[in-house]
C-alpha cells in the first residue's frame, strides 16, 4: 500500500481588526475531507459562531449536540435552520484564547451525499460541546462562511482551513 502525504494547509486568516464574517471561497475540490480550526474572541460581547456553505441561506442546516458545563451533561438539537451553529454554549468570549473550535467536513466534494460534519467547541470558562451537523445538499462545498451574528470576531482571531486527501 503506497502512502501519499496529505493534510495540506489551504488558507489561513488572522484578523487585524474586528470583523463580522470570514469566508473561505473557491475551495479546491481536490481533497477528500476538510478541517477548519478556529481560535476566536468576540466583541463587544460573547457570541456564538455560525457556518454557511456555498452562500446557502435556506433552512437546510441541522445538528445534534452533546455538551457539558462542568456540572451537567446534556444534549440538544436544532432542525431546519438557516445556519449551522457551532457553539450554542461554548461562546467566543470577549478575551482571545478561550474559545477554540475544530470542524471536520467529511467527503466535502462528494456530489452524491449530504454533507455531515463533526465539530468540537471549547471555552475554558463555559464548557465544551460536541456536535454532528448536516447540510442537506449534495453540492460539493466550495465556500465556507464563518460569522458572528450581531457582533464581530476580535482582532487576533484566527481561521485556518486544511485539506486531507485519501488514497
Amino acid at each position: 500500500m503506497p502512502a501519499t502525504n496529505t493534510y495540506d494547509a489551504i488558507q489561513s486568516y488572522t484578523l487585524t481588526s474586528a470583523t463580522n464574517t470570514v469566508t473561505f471561497g473557491s475551495i479546491p475540490q481536490t481533497y477528500t475531507d476538510l478541517v477548519l480550526i478556529l481560535n476566536l474572541g468576540s466583541t463587544p460581547s460573547a457570541q456564538l459562531t455560525r457556518l454557511r456553505f456555498n452562500g446557502d441561506t435556506g433552512t437546510n442546516y441541522s445538528d445534534t449536540k452533546l455538551r457539558g458545563n462542568g456540572t451537567t451533561a446534556y444534549s440538544t438539537r436544532i432542525s431546519n435552520d438557516s445556519n449551522a451553529t457551532l457553539n450554542e454554549f461554548a461562546y467566543a468570549s470577549t478575551t482571545l484564547g478561550k474559545c477554540n473550535i475544530i470542524v471536520n467536513f467529511m467527503n466535502y466534494s462528494n456530489t452524491t451525499t449530504y454533507k455531515t460534519f463533526l465539530f468540537r467547541a471549547n471555552n475554558a470558562d463555559l464548557g465544551t460541546e460536541l456536535g454532528a451537523g448536516l447540510w442537506r445538499s449534495t453540492a460539493a462545498i466550495s465556500a465556507i462562511e464563518v460569522s458572528n451574528p450581531g457582533n464581530n470576531f476580535l482582532s487576533g482571531s484566527t481561521f485556518s482551513l486544511y485539506g486531507i486527501k485519501a488514497a
Binding site: L66, T116, L118, L134
Partner: protein
Amino acid sequence: MAVSSFSNSGIKSGSKRNKIWDQSAVENSFFSIATNTATGSTADVTFSSIPQTYTHLQLRMIVKNHTANTNNTRIQFNSDTGANYSWHELFGDGASAGSNASISASYMYLGNHPSNAVASAFAVYVVDILDYTNTNKFKTVKTLSGYDLNGSGVVGLRSGNWRSTSAISTIRIFPGADSFGQYSSFALYGIKG
C-alpha cells in the same frame, strides 16, 4: 516558513491580513495509506498488512446501513475475536446525554450509523489509534462520531482498549448487523511522530 500573499476577498469587513503557508519548511507527517468505498452492500472492510512505519493511525469514515435499520460500527484488530476489548462512551441524542460501557467484549464499539431511509445521509467517524506499533503497551483508541437527520441523530465520544501488546497489522471494521450501505467510505491514514 515562506509566506505568500493572496486575495483578501474572503474577509468581509474590517482590516484584512492574510497569509498562506507554502508547506516547504515542515516535515511531512500525515499520510494516506488506503481507502475502501462500498459499491453496494458490504459486509465488512479490512485493512491488512498495515505498514509499521508510523506512530499513530487515523480512520476517517462515512457510514450508513444497507437496510432500513440503524446500526452500529465495530472494530477488531489482528483477527482477534476474543473478549479482549473494552470501551466507554458518552453520547447525546438531541434529548438527553447518556453513557455506556463494556469491559470484556469481543469487539470495540465505535458508534451508531443511520439506516438507508435518507439515502444521502451518513454518520461520520474520526478514529485515532495511538501507538499502534508499540509492543510494550495495550492499544488505545479514541473516537468522535455522529450523524444528524434533521430531527433525529446522535453524537458521541468513545474510548476503547484492546488488551494486546501486539503491533496492529490488520483492522477489520464491521456493522453489528446487516451490512454497510453504498458509498460508505473508510480511509486509513498514518501519522509519524
